[in-house]
């Protein structure tokens, strides 16, 4: 959250590469092709895709609602089924004990234990409700930059991959050094390359 309301945390990315001609048609097609698919009614463990910045249940984007002026505004939604390790451990122990008694053996074999754990995990996973997380982005087509509203590095890596998959374009985080490269002329850029840390005391 933060793009449209409240306080925002973000980083900037540069978008590297060219969009095809008719870029808006291309984007329209790709946004829909990579829009979010709900997994509430399935057994899938993971789903990732684009939804509207105004409503995380809108992945239809009627009237290209992701366009605002020269910007493309999208929310990256990730739904994931998770089982807490403590719950998994508890149910696995219970089940192991049940099977051991049933088979009347003093100890379960290693392969049996692995099998039980896998079965319990699958059962619990199916019962788990997918946890949604959403991250907004705002892409300026005019100057090929992105605002991405998360400072989490793992999410940055996910965005980099999914953005490339969706639009065939690479994105590169703007850190002070790369921002500086944009701001400077050739002469100073060369000096920047050779710059070493200064002692301020």
């Amino acid at each position: 959250m933060g793009f449209l309301k409240g306080s925002a945390s973000f980083v900037r990315f540069s978008v590297v590469g060219e969009l095809p001609e008719n870029s808006l048609d291309f984007i329209a097609q790709r946004v829909i092709a990579f829009s979010f698919q709900d997994i509430d009614e399935t057994y899938d463990e993971y789903s990732i895709g684009w939804v509207s910045v105004l409503n995380m249940f809108d992945s239809q984007f009627a009237y290209a609602s992701y366009v605002a002026g020269d910007y493309i505004t999208l929310t990256l939604r990730i739904d994931e089924r998770k089982v807490s390790p403590a719950i998994l451990k508890k149910i696995v122990q219970k089940e192991e004990e049940r099977v051991r008694r049933e088979q009347q053996v003093p100890k379960l074999s290693r392969s049996m234990k692995v099998q039980i754990k896998e079965r319990v995990r699958t059962e619990l996973m199916r019962k788990a409700i997918p946890i949604p997380s959403i991250f907004e982005l705002c892409w300026s087509l005019a100057d090929s930059t992105l605002f991405f509203f998360s400072t989490n590095k793992k999410v940055h890596a996910i965005l980099e991959d999914f953005f490339k998959e969706s639009f065939g374009l690479l994105i590169r985080q703007q850190i002070p050094y790369t921002t500086a490269e944009h701001l400077l002329d050739d002469d100073l850029r060369e000096k920047l390359e050779r710059l070493s840390p200064e002692i301020f005391v």
């Binding site: 973000f10 105004l54 009237y63 705002c138 850190i175 002070p176 100073l188 002692i199 005391v201």
Partner: protein, 182 residues
């Protein structure tokens, strides 16, 4: 150079920028003159994180407090630490932006944008008004980034220019003067 190496090797650049900006903001009591645009106010407050060293030998110092002179942070500067994070309030054209800037990666955290009529009007169902609200938010975000980049550009010009030694001398004097002597 690959981005991971760049981040590690050029980590100091953002930290030096923040340290310089703190000095710059105090040089004229919060006013910073922007070439071609006049004065803006840049005030450091509440929260600061200073860092020295790299990797396992790095040392961090966090200072927070509402009404504070940030004396510990100033002493940290004197010990050779640089600013890694700071809460900054920027005033420009009667718009007030506040943000926590993380220097090494240039992350904008907990950014508060000025409230305007359009951005507060988020209950509207009319698509054109919603688009207006979104565009206004984008404008404010772009404006904040532009201001930060203008300040960063000013720093880079001095840092890479011929007058850096003179500026550094003034920063060193400021650090020596403002730190608490126990």
């Amino acid at each position: 150079m690959d981005l991971v190496d760049l981040i590690a090797e050029k980590r100091f650049l953002g930290q030096e920028f923040l340290t310089w900006l703190w000095w710059k903001s105090e040089e004229r009591g919060g006013s910073v003159a922007i070439p071609g645009e006049g004065d803006i106010t840049v005030v450091f407050e509440k929260h600061m994180l200073l860092e020295s060293g790299e990797g396992e030998s790095s040392e961090k110092l966090i200072c927070t407090g509402l009404q504070t002179e940030l004396q510990e942070a100033r002493t940290g500067l004197q010990m050779g630490k640089k600013l890694e994070q700071a809460r900054i309030v920027i005033n420009h054209n009667s718009y007030e932006y506040s943000l926590t800037m993380a220097g090494a990666l240039m992350e904008y955290r907990n950014v508060r944008l000025p409230k305007t009529e359009a951005t507060e009007n988020d209950k509207s169902d009319k698509p054109e008004e919603v688009e207006g609200m979104i565009l206004e938010r984008i404008y404010l975000l772009e404006e904040l980034v532009r201001l930060v980049n203008v300040l960063f550009g000013m720093f880079l010009k001095v840092r890479l220019g011929a007058n850096w030694r003179d500026e550094l001398q003034m920063i060193r004097q400021w650090i020596a003067k403002t730190a608490v002597v126990v």
